[in-house]
């Protein structure tokens, strides 16, 4: 009950004013967006599971890739961001960091390439399973010095590869974090707070079980 009382206190303290400044997130906005970020990360992990699931149709798996890519800033392509000086900054496509329990090297792939690699099962395993190994967690949303909002989300995935005989040939549990960008988008009649996922970093890779 406490949080809502704080919310109402804020709301009615500001009552005589015309409303909240549109460039700032209210506590209620932050709650709603934190939930939304969590939902997006959960959807991403679910898309990953389905992309590698060769029991599903190619049509569905290709649609899972499309749906996964639009969760990311730039939809998985190179993108521009307007900085505080009104200048366009060019950014490379969002990336996924990959790791293995067999070595210490972490590599980067563009998200698009990573997802298509998973789809094509480039390692030629008999079967691959990717599943969520823990609940998705999202840190508080904070305003950056350039006026944007960001948050960090964490998820944990279990990766299991089987050979043709159904024997496990590789498995790990990897904890990953995603930088999430939240920006105001002016549309007719209001402001949309758009949460887009950014680069995905590996924070830890451990053997499964």
């Amino acid at each position: 009950m406490k949080p809502i009382k704080i919310l109402f206190a804020c709301l009615f303290f500001l009552f005589p004013l015309s409303g909240f400044a549109q460039s700032d997130l209210t506590p209620s906005d932050k709650d709603a967006l934190q939930t939304r970020v969590k939902e997006k990360v959960e959807e991403f992990v679910n898309h990953l599971s389905n992309i590698v699931n060769e029991e599903l149709t190619e049509y569905q798996r290709q649609n899972e890739i499309k749906a996964a890519l639009v969760l990311f800033i730039g939809n998985g392509e190179r993108y521009d961001v307007t900085n505080v000086y009104g200048e366009k900054e060019h950014h490379e496509a969002v990336r996924m960091q990959i790791s293995s329990i067999n070595h210490d090297i972490k590599r980067w792939l563009t998200m698009k390439k990573y997802l298509w690699n998973q789809y094509k099962n480039i390692h030629r395993y008999g079967k691959v399973k990717i599943e969520s190994a823990d609940v998705v967690r999202v840190d508080n949303i904070n305003k950056t010095s350039d006026g944007h909002y960001e948050a960090m989300a964490y998820f944990c995935q279990r990766y299991i590869a089987y050979n043709e005989n159904g024997r496990v040939v590789y498995s790990d549990i990897t904890t990953k974090k995603i930088k999430v960008y939240i920006d105001a988008l002016e549309i007719p009649g209001g402001v949309i707070w758009e949460a887009k996922l950014g680069d995905v970093y590996v924070t830890a890779t451990e053997p499964n079980g």
């Binding site: 009552f15 005589p16 967006l33 389905n50 639009v70 988008l185």
Partner: protein, 382 residues
């Protein structure tokens, strides 16, 4: 507003007469045109529609159909209010009525008999204001099993307001975390009348851009019932709303004030035995198109179809209901924060593939037969 074809809704309701049994009738009137509080009431409208869409979906699993009549903007007036309320086809002892009004309200001087306000309904002339008690009397004359009548408006005396007759005339958003049994107990097992207004006689009611303090607390506490955190009992709920709202310090130009809601909960006799119909079709009569649009969108969540089948339905749904380049805005449960803005194709693909989305509530639509933009809220099961 644009979305409402009231005449169609009323005609549909008339044609459906005698066909409907065990129905939840939802009536929402909000004065969204008002220059001072219109924005606040638009938030209340969206919150109320969204929460009642979710509750209707849950009650549908217990065999209840639902009908929704929703008037705002120019449609929020006395004539439409009386048409809708008098036109409700209520199955005596079985149906449930939920009525919500958000807008200006007032009361006559020296009217101690009626503790409830008169609803101004966007009408300039006080003779067009309608007492909430009149709405109660019209509805109760039809003998519903349960009627919930809520008014989010001021209840302050005004010298120019006359006492009006309240004698009725002849007739008239995490799904898995939702405790469905609690909503069943509240809406389907309870009987009688629940009548509540946002402030007691002689008091103003206050609202901000996100809606009125009464409306926000009412739905917040209702959500807690759905989460199994508080007792699913109308008297308990109303008391909790009253206490919580009364505690909120409201800063006004004349200093800090408090607003205290007023309620009456009158239970009927014993609960009748209900005939449970499984998998009944839900009827939403905001308008014809709305019903078909919502039903088509929700067909993409039909778990009995494979995801392949659902994905292949997208083109047809898009061509039938949307213009080229149409957009979908997704609202958070607070109905204020826009949390997503997508091309319709992206939205339809996303919901078709998601194992987490249980139901889509369509809050409003823009455009004619083919929509240029819709506003939705997702009911999720995680």
């Amino acid at each position: 507003m644009k979305t409402l074809k009231l005449i169609t809704a009323i005609c549909l309701a008339m044609f459906q007469a005698n066909l409907i049994a065990q129905t939840l009738h939802v009536v929402v009137f909000c004065d969204t045109n008002d220059k001072k509080i219109g924005v606040n009431k638009e938030s209340e409208r969206k919150i109320t529609i969204n929460e009642m869409e979710t509750i209707s979906t849950i009650l549908g699993e217990y065999g209840y159909d639902s009908e929704m009549y929703e008037c705002h903007g120019n449609y929020c007036n006395k004539s439409n209010l009386l048409k809708v309320v008098k036109g409700l086809e209520i199955e005596p002892e079985k149906d449930v009525v939920f009525f919500y009004y958000g807008g200006h309200g007032s009361r006559a001087m020296n009217n101690e008999e009626d503790p409830f306000p008169q609803m101004c309904l966007g009408e300039d002339y006080e003779e067009n204001w309608v007492p909430a008690t009149l709405v109660k009397n019209i509805i109760m004359k039809k003998n519903p099993r349960l009627a919930i009548i809520l008014t989010g408006c001021c209840n302050k005396e005004d010298a120019g307001v006359s006492i009006k007759s309240v004698v009725s005339e002849a007739a008239y958003t995490k799904e898995s975390s939702i405790d469905k049994a609690a909503y069943k107990k509240l809406f389907l097992d309870a009987t009688g009348l629940v009548m509540m207004t946002s402030s007691k006689a002689g008091q103003y009611s206050y609202s901000g851009k996100e809606g009125g303090v009464f409306c926000l607390y009412f739905w917040h506490l209702m959500e807690m019932i759905g989460e199994g955190k508080i007792t699913p009992d109308w008297a308990y709920l109303c008391d909790a709303v009253k206490k919580n709202v009364a505690e909120v310090p409201i800063n006004t130009r004349s200093g800090v004030v408090h607003q205290e809601p007023y309620y009456e909960v009158t239970p009927k006799g014993s609960t009748p035995n209900l005939v449970i119909k499984k998998n009944t079709t839900r009827t939403v009569t905001i308008n014809n198109q709305g019903s078909s649009l919502m039903s088509d969108i929700n067909s993409l969540l039909n778990q009995t179809l494979s995801k392949d089948q659902r994905l292949r339905m997208i083109d047809e749904i898009q061509a039938k209901h949307f213009t080229q380049g149409a957009k979908v805005i997704t609202k958070g449960r607070n109905m204020t924060t826009n949390v997503d803005y997508e091309d319709v194709e992206v939205f339809l693909r996303r919901i078709a593939l998601s194992p987490f989305i249980k139901h889509i509530n369509v809050i409003s639509e823009e455009g004619g037969d083919k929509k240029t933009q819709i506003i939705v809220h997702e009911v999720r099961n995680n």
